[in-house]
Symmetry: C2
Subunit: 521 residues, 2 copies
């Protein structure tokens, strides 16, 4: 027992000023394991220093990686001031939409990093019901909606509550070529035109200088266009203007968020493994998963406000670490699965498996020390003491079964602590990438999937152009007719979809063949 | 290629009346693999028949498992009619809260199965913005909120938008002993009392006959108490009164949902593996994961409305399958990890890893054939054709890399199809449990964790009773003082929490020892 207590003392990293701590004692490793990582730790220290010195650390895309350093000077910078001024002008109704009404909502049109970070921030800081509050309760700040897919249901759902005259449209795309974002922009432009309104008088953009979207939005005189650096990747853009503008429009104290991220950056610049929480975190991932991601990372914040944390980290970690090749070109198929939701709720869900089932994970708990309110339940037990009891009970049950856990404690859910959390994981990802010698900052798999999607749309074009009239034919017959028999399955899929959306296409099932027969008029 | 086309034909199961299909060709298996499962398929057919015949299939809890059969007679049953009558009376303002105002919101207080199912249903059928709509747009049906944790933040967040006079409180707990639910009930009772209102005049319950909650709510003359069967488990309660009442209060057509579930039940009673989609689904899980869950199940509905599907299935599958022992008492540590979000969005997140990283998963895509609206983007390409293109593109990219996928197609997101989806997975879970010889219907790990949590609360009591005044002491010193040195780590955790919530407790960091020092007045 003394040993367990000493192990906790030794492997808990504390930052007393911020009340942030992270405890690694519940992971399975020895001092020898840590010592064995020394060459990798050195390498990672060099690598992080290179990133911060502005060297090319994303060789495929030949670009620098500046999210750790840009935030050193972000607060107070011209772009920061531009955002703050814009937000205040919107809040007090100095900048309005085309019909002169004060904006009371913003629809953020962006995907991946342009949505997940702002969603996490909004839910954590303003809570789940922000959009249901009155303008006064929001202090003039805006309701916040998202378009983060190319799903007509999402678009129609937004229209069902959107007042076009009081909604600001914020289009976020670094390249401007992101198809989902472009689609929502086009659909929204058409919607505004149908209403006799000019979309350009309700629209702002965040994009890279010279991008397609930059040219388009400036050329059409949108309300304002904000520039983002080319050297900031989508999944690490939350501490840049991409995180700032949506957050500021809802009254989030973004400077505090940056301060938290910078505070963590500073802490995690320590070169000694045992004093650097990002390095230790990466070391745990490495040791637990044998450097191959052999254990899933289960993220369980004991906080309703942090429910989106696992989703955010899923993108940050998996898109960064899930790579086919290492930096030397070897096929390594790296990865690190991330999932989770919120505790104690999930103790009534997947925690059963964590307790009793496959020992193929390590859990990361995040505890929020300060309760939002003192809600007495029985004697001196409050709602918060129960939540703590469930967390501590689960930890103890899991440890008793030889399962592995990391526990993070923060004082409360606020901008500063969120900045610390995000910076911690951003840096742990960068360190882990150095450990396993991969490029954490590109996403070739996403590119290859985009290409494949393009192929499907070309096949669709081909089908429309060449199928002609068809009567009760199988997908293979139609595929043969247009000279693409090898694409019969994909053609069937296209026709399944079309039969519900194009009046010219219908289908009927042939049970004997176990195939749909398609007709095209 | 002919082979790939034929493989698709052979291994796609279609139900033409409902336009529901599920394609297994993208999984790696041979006819010989399927044949090899024959003894297990027989066993599963027997097992499911036993469940449906009302035999004891949850031996630990000595109870029957009736969710498949109760829904045969649920629609039109006395309890069904009781719910429908109650809902209509609430909707038209015949049943009101204690001050006579029409209810316009319901707060569902329940956890695990009592929350996840209703949340999934609400989001899928009524969409993300239901609570922002006017009473007229909701046709008099209620806004829907959830209390599904013991987190004071969640409670305070609800209060920030809740009108106590027009909010119906629905407490759901089979046993009545669920602590999280009890906590929210107690806190809400106090809140009402402080407002000079009587909680009992705003409250209804769903619980088992004779339970603690049954006695309490009936004894206190709550508005109404609805009975749930003991033989329905939390995670499979969505087709019972537990799913019905919250859904009906928001205008969901629950009879359609039941019809969909029954339609799937019927389809999945076929004894032939190749004609039974639940059996095939379980077979795929089994073959892909070698009967041990060696691959993660990644759920990606290409539909914003279905974003909660992965969370729902995470509970259903992991709580059911994640078991330490099989039915013969052998330690097997079974499990099947489930995670996911929504496509195409997640192609900008974790899909990078699925494409390029660890080959340790199989993906299940769910496509919705009918678009919510025709939103033209370019030429004859609509928003929906892009969504299809991304799905088909990703499938093709993944298959090209030897990854495994299952594709489900449904016509649209509605009650009927949701019923089919849920029943499909409920039955696949029951089949898989037969394959691997486990009890899918208990949750001993949750019980053991509850016990551990109780231990923490007792430790807390001990600490309060015996610590006395303490000045700048370590957790170990305090632990020794109360005669529980072995609990020093847990005591430190308790004091960390208390130092933010109890004025008598404070802490200060001793950097030299790397320990917090606590003071208790």
């Amino acid at each position: 027992m003394e040993n367990w207590i000493e192990r906790n003392r030794k492997y808990t990293l504390v930052n007393p000023e911020s009340n942030f701590s992270i405890a690694f004692a519940g992971m399975k490793f020895t001092d020898a394991d840590l010592l064995g990582l020394a060459p990798m730790v050195n390498r990672a220290n060099r690598g992080i220093a290179e990133i911060e010195a502005g060297e090319i650390k994303n060789p495929d895309e030949k670009r620098k990686v500046t999210h750790f350093t840009d935030r050193l000077s972000y607060v107070g910078s011209p772009i920061y001031q531009e955002v703050e001024a814009f937000v205040e002008a919107v809040r007090i109704g100095k900048i309005t939409g085309g019909t002169g009404k004060k904006f009371n909502a913003v629809a953020v049109n962006g995907i991946g990093g342009s949505a997940l970070g702002p969603q996490l921030m909004q839910f954590a800081v303003n809570g789940p019901y922000w959009n249901e509050k009155s303008d006064a309760a929001r202090n003039g700040y805006l309701k916040l909606y998202f378009l983060d897919n190319t799903d007509s249901a999402e678009f129609v759902d937004l229209l069902s509550v959107m007042d076009p005259e009081t909604t600001l449209h914020l289009v976020i795309s670094k390249s401007g070529g992101t198809q989902e974002t472009k689609n929502n922009m086009i659909a929204m432009e058409k919607f505004y035109a149908n209403k006799g309104l000019k979309f350009i008088q309700f629209a702002a953009a965040i994009t890279m200088k010279g991008s397609e979207l930059d040219q388009y939005s400036r050329g059409n005189h949108w309300l304002q266009v904000f520039e983002m650096a080319e050297s900031i990747g989508g999944r690490t853009s939350e501490t840049s203007v991409v995180g700032h503008l949506p957050a500021a429009l809802t009254g989030v104290k973004f400077a505090d968020f940056i301060a938290g991220a910078r505070h963590m950056d500073q802490w995690t610049r320590k070169v000694d493994l045992l004093q650097n929480p990002a390095m230790m975190l990466a070391a745990m991932w490495y040791i637990a998963g044998k450097g191959k991601g052999n254990r899933n990372m289960v993220i369980v914040p004991y906080s309703d406000r942090l429910i989106l944390m696992s989703r955010y980290l899923q993108q940050l970690v998996m898109e960064s670490i899930g790579k086919e090749r290492d930096l030397d070109g070897n096929v390594v198929n790296q990865g690190l699965n991330v999932f989770g939701n919120k505790g104690g709720t999930d103790a009534h869900a997947f925690i059963q498996q964590l307790n009793d089932g496959r020992d193929d994970f390590f859990a990361t708990f995040i505890e929020v020390l300060k309760d939002s309110a003192k809600l007495p339940i029985a004697g001196d037990l409050t709602m918060g003491s129960y939540l703590h009891g469930f967390l501590a009970g689960l930890s103890s049950a899991l440890l008793g079964k030889g399962r592995q856990i990391i526990t993070v404690k923060i004082s409360e859910v606020n901008e500063f602590n969120l900045g610390m959390l995000i910076a911690l994981y951003e840096r742990a990802v960068a360190v882990y990438a150095e450990f396993v010698n991969i490029n954490a900052f590109h996403q070739p798999g996403v590119q290859s999937y985009k290409l494949a999607a393009k192929g499907i749309l070309e096949l669709r074009k081909d089908l429309i152009a060449n199928a002609g009239e068809v009567n009760l034919s199988t997908a293979l017959e139609i595929a043969q007719k247009i000279g693409r028999p090898q694409d019969a399955v994909e053609i069937g899929d296209l026709l399944d979809k079309s039969s519900f959306n194009c009046p010219m296409v219908s289908r009927t099932f042939d049970a004997k063949q176990n195939l749909w027969l398609y007709s095209i008029k």
